[in-house]
């Protein structure tokens, strides 16, 4: 039993960190967030070259064929860099859905283009009730066409095709198909754009049933948590550096226990979220019986911890933390978007209750 990273996992994580530091430093994040789509074609091509767009997909579709743990490590570093654009939507979200439910022929047409970097994609689930329960979805197809509105769809404007979840199945929709109207939603986090997407008798290709989404939903949720852990780590690092450097009353503020103990709590929360998501990724990869519970535990914990860590970081920075110039608010806003994505902590606690209390098996997965 080994909870540490393997040599190759460590290498992948280190390389990803260097890659994002070089290719997408904060100046670039700030530039992209002021654009309409927060998407950069050149950066996307470089990520595809690294194999990031095909990281978890089978080699027969041009993927790299790595596991969920590797995906989570990549996402952690992407989150640390506050990477803008559709890597998450395309790979963890749409790609893993395709991989789980599409036919081999469909995978050849859709997944291959994701792996090669030719296509970007996203997944449209939420409707005006903003419920993450797939049973609340009302949109349904009629004669192979979709009508209705999806909300909070990330990166829809740069997607070449979308995966749309309807009551009677999961569909692939070409972004240029007839009857699609994509409008930006002005959300807090400018680094990952959200859109409303209206479909009016839009032709759609059925991929499979919504029931098949359970696992890709969990993969995406774990990937969000990994991004959050990266963001928490970066917030902690920035804050500790500041607490060492900033002086008041003639001393570095990090010397005061009121400040130091907040930093200690940020560390505890970050490490705990990391333990939870690493385990969840492994459980998904191994398909253990507690994989869904493990994902919910991670998402529940990180949804609260991400917000708390961000808040502590801003507080320790004092007035500086409240400025636009300081980077912390960017992480704080991403944390809010991630907190609600794929279910907030309340949603996941209820899911844990269903899986643990109602199932009548309170006993935990153990070594």
């Amino acid at each position: 039993m080994e909870f540490g990273l393997s040599e190759s996992q460590r290498l992948l994580k280190d390389n990803a960190r260097k890659f994002f530091e070089n290719e997408c430093p904060m100046e670039e994040v700030r530039r992209l967030m002021e654009t309409d789509t927060a998407y950069d074609e050149a950066l996307w091509a470089k990520m595809a070259e690294q194999g990031y767009t095909g990281i978890i997909f089978p080699e027969e579709y041009g993927g790299v064929g790595l596991g969920k743990v590797e995906l989570i490590l990549l996402m952690e570093e992407a989150g640390r860099a506050l990477l803008p654009g559709p890597l998450f939507s395309t790979v963890a979200f749409a790609g893993s859905a395709l991989d789980a439910i599409a036919t081999p022929d469909q995978k050849k047409r859709y997944l291959t283009r994701i792996c090669s970097g030719e296509a970007r994609s996203t997944l449209a689930i939420l409707e005006d009730g903003a419920s993450w329960n797939l049973t609340d979805i009302r949109m349904a197809s009629a004669n192979g066409k979709l009508t209705g509105e999806k909300l909070f769809v990330p990166d829809a404007m740069v997607a070449d095709f979308m995966i749309v979840v309807a009551r009677d199945g999961v569909f692939a929709v070409d972004a240029k198909a007839a009857g699609i109207d994509i409008q930006p939603m002005e959300a807090m986090d400018r680094t990952r754009k959200l859109y409303s997407v209206r479909f009016s008798s839009t032709p759609a290709e059925k991929l499979g049933n919504a029931a098949g989404l359970a696992r890709p939903f969990d993969v995406a949720a774990a990937a969000v948590v990994a991004e959050m852990v990266g963001g928490m780590q970066r917030t902690l690092d920035i804050t500790v550096e500041y607490a060492k450097m900033r002086k008041q009353f003639g001393k570095p503020i990090g010397m005061f226990q009121a400040v130091q103990h907040q930093c200690a709590d940020m560390y505890l929360e970050t490490e705990s979220a990391r333990s939870a998501v690493y385990y969840a990724a492994w459980a998904l990869e191994e398909n253990t019986p507690d994989a869904a519970v493990a994902v919910s535990i991670a998402k529940m914990y990180a949804s609260d911890a991400g917000r708390t860590v961000g808040g502590r970081g801003i507080q320790i920075h004092g007035g500086m933390g409240f400025t636009w110039e300081n980077d912390l608010h960017l992480y704080y806003k991403r944390a809010k978007a991630s907190e609600t994505a794929f279910g907030d902590s309340t949603w996941h606690r209820e899911r844990i209750a269903r899986l643990v209390i109602d199932a009548g098996t309170a006993s935990m997965q153990s070594a």
């Binding site: 039993m1 080994e2 909870f3 540490g4 990273l5 393997s6 996992q9 743990v69 500790v240 607490a243 060492k244 001393k251 570095p252 990090g254 010397m255 005061f256 226990q257 130091q260 103990h261 930093c263 200690a264 709590d265 560390y267 505890l268 490490e271 705990s272 990391r274 333990s275 939870a276 690493y278 385990y279 492994w282 191994e286 519970v293 493990a294 919910s296 535990i297 529940m300 914990y301 309340t346 996941h348 606690r349 209820e350 844990i352 209750a353 643990v356 209390i357 109602d358 309170a362 006993s363 935990m364 153990s366 070594a367």
Partner: protein, 395 residues
């Protein structure tokens, strides 16, 4: 990263599981709720049995009667003990903290003298660290030892000594040089609790019981050969004991926490609130799920720490997050239990209406001590701030 058991770990688990199935006493349930004083001979006998199977101190090197178990095997050990609902061991401080310190710092003669009887529970160990005026600031302790011929003469007072009432031996930290900075003048002595001049008094705590003792030392003579480690190097020896305390204690507690949450879920199914079972009440479900999740995260933090220690060789200051996590979590779990039980939560053991014979009222009170004992939450946060994050020392 691979959390599957490897072949060696699986063999270790299977062997242990079979042994426990054959050896865990069936009448433990009758003894579990008795006062520790009454149950102590029972726990001693149980430890002796474990020792006969070479299961008492799996982490210890083979040559000292252990199994040189890896940290992961140790985690497996506690998981299996929990699964088998096995009793705890009588000499828990000797096995968990003091034995390992003696193995690390002791002379050959000391190891030969003390180690076998720690394992067999023939000699129970206690720990003389805290003093009335030296709690978090342990290094300021004042109990002094003066060399007189080939003996040290000890005078002073210790407090919060677990197992003091039953202890045969004590790992005692004393000041041997008052003229140097406080960390540099300390020495660890191994003290026979039957020596003349030791007065052991029970310390009644807020739960009403006396888990701990106060120890008074008046001209207690300790042979000089009972210095553990080097003279005036006691701080390093003591810190090594504390590291074992913070690192390993949590693994054992998982046993208790897991039992608590399982039981709380059971209770929630039977408690009625507003005409339906509490287990179907959305608020109760939220709280139970939060506890369940955090207990699992505590286990995962522990496992990750084990992997890190395996890589670096020693328990590090990161162990402090484990201590903070379990102690504060335990209080939160007890609070949820109280909310679930309502007025019944206050009934103490002995009241015929008390739920689980007062387990929850006791737990509610006892867990207040969790964030104080073995290094307060504040001290743990100082350790993380300074030693892990590199912030300037605040004190």
């Amino acid at each position: 990263m691979d959390l599957n058991l490897n072949a060696e770990e699986r063999q270790f688990r299977d062997e242990l599981r079979a042994w426990l199935a054959a050896n865990v006493p069936r009448d433990w349930a009758e003894w579990r709720e008795k006062p520790l004083e009454e149950a102590f001979p029972y726990l001693r006998a149980w430890q002796r049995r474990l020792h006969e199977g070479r299961w008492a101190a799996v982490s210890w090197p083979k040559e000292y009667g252990g199994r040189s178990a890896t940290l992961m095997q140790q985690a497996i050990f506690w998981e299996e003990m929990a699964r088998a609902q096995a009793p705890s061991m009588a000499n828990s401080l000797g096995l968990g903290l003091i034995g390992p310190t003696i193995i690390a710092y002791g002379s050959t003669a000391q190891k030969q003298r003390f180690i076998p009887k720690i394992l067999s529970a023939e000699e129970i160990w206690c720990q003389g660290f805290s003093e009335p005026n030296a709690g978090s600031d342990l290094a300021s302790l004042q109990t002094e030892a003066r060399l007189d011929g080939d003996h040290y003469v000890v005078n002073g007072q210790k407090v919060w000594t677990s197992y003091g009432w039953v202890g045969d031996w004590c790992e005692l930290v004393v000041r041997t040089d008052p003229n140097v900075p406080k960390h540099k003048g300390l020495t660890v002595l191994l003290v026979d609790m039957r020596s003349a001049g030791i007065d052991v008094r029970p310390l009644r705590q807020m739960t009403g019981e006396s888990e701990f003792n106060e120890l008074f030392f008046r001209d207690v003579r300790v042979p000089a050969e009972n210095v553990l480690g080097q003279l005036n190097d006691g701080w390093n020896v003591a810190v090594s004991t504390l590291m074992y305390e913070r690192g390993s204690y949590g693994a054992r507690l998982h046993l208790l926490f897991k039992r608590n949450i399982d039981r709380l879920i059971e209770i929630a199914r039977t408690v009625q609130t507003c005409g339906h079972s509490a287990a179907s009440d959305p608020l109760v479900r939220q709280k139970l799920a939060q506890c369940y999740a955090e207990i699992e995260i505590m286990r995962l933090n522990q496992l990750r720490a084990f992997s890190r220690i395996t890589a670096t060789g020693v328990p590090g200051p990161e162990g402090s997050i484990l201590k903070i996590f379990w102690s504060e979590l335990n209080q939160r779990v007890q609070q949820v239990a109280q909310e679930l039980l309502g007025s019944y939560g206050q009934l103490m053991s002995g009241d015929r209406r008390a739920v689980d014979n007062g387990l929850w009222s006791y737990g509610y009170l006892r867990t207040r001590g969790n964030t104080i004992e073995a290094g307060t939450s504040e001290v743990q946060r100082n350790i993380i701030g300074h030693f892990v994050l590199g912030l300037p020392r605040s004190y």
